[in-house]
């Protein structure tokens, strides 16, 4: 690059963003590794080694967070892939209500998560909620969706899928529309049916979209906080506590070192899963 352009593309342009990003994001991230090893009051800290991490792995009310976080991320992201793909295929087909259906499916993405959480926790009320009222009409006694420790996490995950499937769908729609026309023509010449089209063309060739949905929703699922907090606050008991809600609880309790250790664990958790996952997914992608 010539000298002139070095001056034109000066790093001064980067400076404002870099300052904000480094001070507000990078510095706290780096410092979190240190403060996770302390007992911390914001003004003062005591170095206590790995004590916080030990607590995290020994206390059953905290270890449950790992399991729940993983289940939640896996369930929401896999269901978003399945429903997003099916809806994407359906909504790129020749149907008349296409734009209506696309809008309806996408709309929940834009509604406040807290609002969605409140509305659904009312609809999931064990006796009076709409869901169980509707089931009662069919003669089925519905479960206590958010009160039963065995299904509460899945109930929240269901709402997450409801809210997030619109985004997955539009990503799949973009991916499916990007498949070149030749493939469909080749299929017609070979005499393939609708199933072949789906399984042999759309599924393999929309892999970039699939990968994007998996990665995005997996990261989102691992970090998920607001929906869970607005619906169950981690309860009943600790049945729906995830790492992010545990961080908030420890923060509220004034255990800043412990909360920060939770943050470090979440960081390691996310990178340890997402980095290899995205490496694997992009390696197995096929070129169009």
């Amino acid at each position: 690059m010539t000298k002139v352009f070095k001056r034109i593309y000066t790093y001064k342009f980067l400076l404002p963003a870099a300052i904000v990003y480094i001070v507000i994001f990078i510095v706290p991230t780096v410092m979190s590794f240190f403060f996770s090893l302390t007992r911390w009051t914001l003004q003062d800290w005591d170095f206590i080694g790995l004590q916080n991490f030990r607590t995290f792995f020994e206390e059953p009310s905290l270890t449950i967070g790992f399991k729940n976080t993983l289940i939640y991320a896996a369930v929401t992201s896999s269901m978003k892939v399945v429903f997003g793909l099916l809806l994407g295929v359906f909504l790129t087909g020749k149907i008349r209500t296409k734009s209506y259906l696309r809008s309806v499916v996408f709309f929940p993405t834009l509604v406040s998560t807290i609002a969605v959480g409140i509305a659904f926790s009312m609809m999931m009320h064990p006796t009076m909620g709409l869901l169980n009222q509707a089931l009662a009409q069919l003669g089925i006694e519905g479960p206590d969706w958010l009160g039963d420790t065995r299904i509460a996490l899945l109930s929240v995950a269901f709402v997450d899928i409801w809210k997030g499937v619109g985004l997955a769908t539009v990503i799949f729609i973009a991916g499916i529309m990007a498949i070149p026309e030749e493939y469909h023509e080749a299929l017609q010449i070979d005499g393939g049916n609708a199933w072949n089209k789906f399984w042999n063309i759309i599924v393999p060739l929309s892999r970039p979209a699939t990968n994007a949905v998996i990665i995005l929703s997996f990261i989102g699922g691992l970090r998920s906080f607001d929906l869970i907090w607005s619906m169950t606050k981690g309860g009943p008991g600790f049945a729906t506590d995830v790492i992010a809600s545990i961080i908030y609880k420890q923060y509220q309790g004034g255990f800043y070192g412990l909360a920060t250790a939770g943050n470090v664990i979440l960081f390691l958790f996310v990178t340890a899963i997402v980095y290899p996952l995205s490496r694997y997914l992009t390696r197995t992608e096929v070129d169009l």
Binding site: V4, F5, R7, I8, Y9, T10, Y11, K12, F13, L14, P16, A17, A18, V20, Y21, V23, I24, F25, P28, T29, M31, S32, F35, F90, I95, T97, S103, V104, V105, F106, F107, P108, L110, V111, S112, T113, I114, A115, I118, A119, F120, M122, M123, M128, L130, V170, I171, A174, A212, I219, R223, D226, I247, Y251, T260, N263, L266, F267, V270, Y275
Partner: protein
């Protein structure tokens, strides 16, 4: 013929399913917001005996010394200020990151893209904000939104900027333009489509943000619309009608954006993810 019939049947089923899955919850919010407290407590879809939406709006707005008005003011200020800062700062950064090629650029990209994955460290961020006396302030919260939105915006801007030919830069340099004049008078106006996309998607994201205000903007005066919703859940335990009126009111701004900018929003969210 029968195949066509089946197709119409599937489509009709899809429309019906969309009504049950998506319109029923919306209708539920709407009717509950129109009811009296007593009627709302039965949590049903029944049409209210007497529509008192206006009364509910007045009640929820007046609640706790007009807390909701302050919240709307704060949320709007937060959204507008963050967007303004984000657009300027991120487009400038993306300009250098996309155009410049030297030893440092891959590292810069790495650190910025890492921000898409890494969850922000909460308490250390509070500590930093406190050290620079910005904890519990609007400025502090704006900076948090800018810092956390930076990787996504840079990604969008960089993708778009790659399609703007370098010949333009060279011609401008030949005409004696410096970096700032080149960027602000030529490049930035060309970025308008992606700027619009960023404004709409980020406006929705920031307006709906709950976690960051919860952590970095506590205090009774510092309330945003999402926080009112959260605070009201414990206070309106027997007044679901008011809670749902609040939901209705704070859903209106994103709804309006959605109606006008549906295509832009979808475009922003998909290009951002597939190219990333």
């Amino acid at each position: 013929m029968s195949r066509r019939l089946r197709k119409v049947g599937i489509e009709a089923a899809a429309v019906l399913a969309s009504a049950v899955l998506f319109w029923v919850p919306l209708y539920f919010v709407l009717v509950t917001a129109m009811k009296s407290a007593k009627e709302a407590s039965d949590m049903s879809l029944k049409w209210p005996a007497k529509i008192q939406l206006w009364q509910n709006i007045k009640d929820v707005v007046a609640f706790r010394d007009h807390m909701l008005l302050r919240a709307f003011w704060n949320s709007s200020a937060l959204t507008v200020l963050s967007l303004a800062a984000m657009v300027v700062v991120c487009s400038m950064a993306a300009f250098v990151m996309q155009r410049r090629k030297d030893k440092a650029t891959p590292w810069i990209s790495f650190f910025v893209l890492a921000g898409l994955i890494i969850p922000p460290a909460i308490v250390p961020t509070i500590w930093v904000l406190d050290e620079i006396h910005l904890f519990k302030t609007m400025t502090g919260l704006v900076l948090v939104e800018v810092a956390l939105g930076f990787p996504f915006c840079v990604m969008l801007y960089r993708g778009f900027m790659a399609a703007i030919p370098r010949d333009i830069d060279e011609a401008a340099v030949v005409d004696g333009y410096g970096g700032y004049r080149l960027f602000f008078t030529i490049i930035f106006p060309l970025l308008k489509p992606v700027t619009a996309t960023i404004i709409v998607t980020q406006a929705v994201a920031i307006f709906n943000d709950f976690t960051n205000p919860l952590y970095f903007f506590p205090g009774s005066k510092n309330v945003t619309v999402q926080l009112t919703l959260y605070n009201f859940t414990s206070q309106f335990i027997s007044q679901w009608n008011l809670l749902f009126t609040d939901i209705l009111l704070i859903t209106i701004p994103p709804l309006v954006l959605f109606i006008f900018f549906n295509k832009k929003i979808v475009a922003g969210m998909t290009t951002g993810s597939v190219k990333g």
